[in-house]
Amino acid sequence: MNPTDHDDELRSLLDDAVSGVEPRHGLATIRSRTAAPPRRGWAWATSGAALAVAATVAAVLVLGGSPRPTTASPGPAGSAASASASAATPSEVSSSRVVVEAPAPGAILSSPFRVSGRASAFEANVQWELMAGSSVVERGFTTAEECCTLSPFSFQVTAPPGDYTLVVHDEDVSGGEGNPPARHSQSVTVR
């Protein structure tokens, strides 16, 4: 047998093994879980997941002066978000699982600027937001080179002049059950 025969045989074995699987009605479940709440602004509109992210960002701001940022649990989206009313000035928050090496905290930069560091993130997904106060000015995601170990990432940010808080984090896939997502937060100024 040559390798192609082997490959074809494996293909048909695996294909056959699951050919009897006919999944049911998944779409209704997915739809009900992704139904958007009434739209108050684009940052809130995408889904429950977006709400959770926004809530965690708010929680980070609340904990700005606190010495225990890595234990910040997102908790129910509503409670964390509403607790942000007395949010103090953003300050540097970092977690050993997300390390930003450049720019330095408080750096004054011109746009676009590049952010680089290392992260140990679920699925190697690194997400970031550039915040002006409590609103998201720009957001995106990138992929660290490797999953689940401290691995390099970098991304470029374009923003108008202003003072911002840059938040870099992984995603909380446990729905709040596991460890809170790792995150780094620092101030940057674009001029």
């Binding site: 082997h6 490959d7 494996l10 293909r11 074995l13 695996l14 294909d15 056959d16 093994a17 699951v18 050919s19 009897g20 699987v21 006919e22 999944p23 049911r24 998944g26 779409l27 479940t29 997915i30 739809r31 879980r33 992704t34 958007a36 995408t46 889904s47 429950g48 997941a49 977006a50 992210v53 679920f122 699925e123 190697a124 997400q127 957001r139 995106g140 995601f141 992929t143 080179e145 490797e146 999953c147 689940c148 995603e171 896939v173």
Partner: protein
């Protein structure tokens, strides 16, 4: 794709569901074995993709994200349900037909058992390569490992699977 630019998260879910849901569930069955668990994994992955649509935006990226999420979540389900490995769930439902049914069913069970018995990475590489027909580079990107690692997992996985399957034929 001309329409993709105008997709919002909901439309992306609908389109990708229509085109890929069944295949992704079957992929997950190859990884976790239990069809109900596989469906949960894939539904969770669609919900995650919906939440990320703003940063994905393109169907290709969204599909790659879905694949990656299905594989990773399948792996973590196995980790959390490790205890159940010793008590495999019942045989999959299979198609109509009477006489050959038992044989077919036996073979399917044997393949799934054999897959389930492989180390995570070998099982994942085999499923991505032989079920989804992904290239080495795509598998490397999906799993976050090097192409060299894909090769070695593939060859070890193929050898292990074949030796198990020898007994069934």
């Amino acid at each position: 794709m001309a329409t993709s630019a105008s997709w919002d998260a909901d439309a992306a879910v609908e389109e990708l569901y229509a085109g890929h849901y069944r295949r992704l569930v079957r992929l997950s069955v190859l990884l976790v074995r239990d069809p109900e668990t596989a469906e949960e994994v894939v539904q969770d992955s669609f919900v995650a993709m919906h939440g990320k649509w703003r940063s994905l935006r393109e169907p290709d990226k969204a599909l790659a994200y879905l694949r990656q999420t299905v594989v990773n979540r399948s792996r973590s389900v196995l980790r959390h349900r490790g205890v159940q490995a010793a008590h495999p769930p019942p045989v999959l439902p299979h198609g109509p037909g009477a006489d050959e049914d038992a044989l077919v069913s036996e073979r399917r069970t044997a393949v799934l058992d054999a897959m389930r018995g492989l180390p995570d990475r070998q099982r994942e590489v085999l499923a991505l390569r032989y079920y989804l027909d992904l290239s080495e580079a795509e598998i490397a990107a999906t799993l976050g490992i090097s192409r060299g690692a894909v090769k070695s997992h593939a060859s070890r996985g193929v050898a292990a699977l074949r030796s198990v399957m020898e007994d069934v034929r």
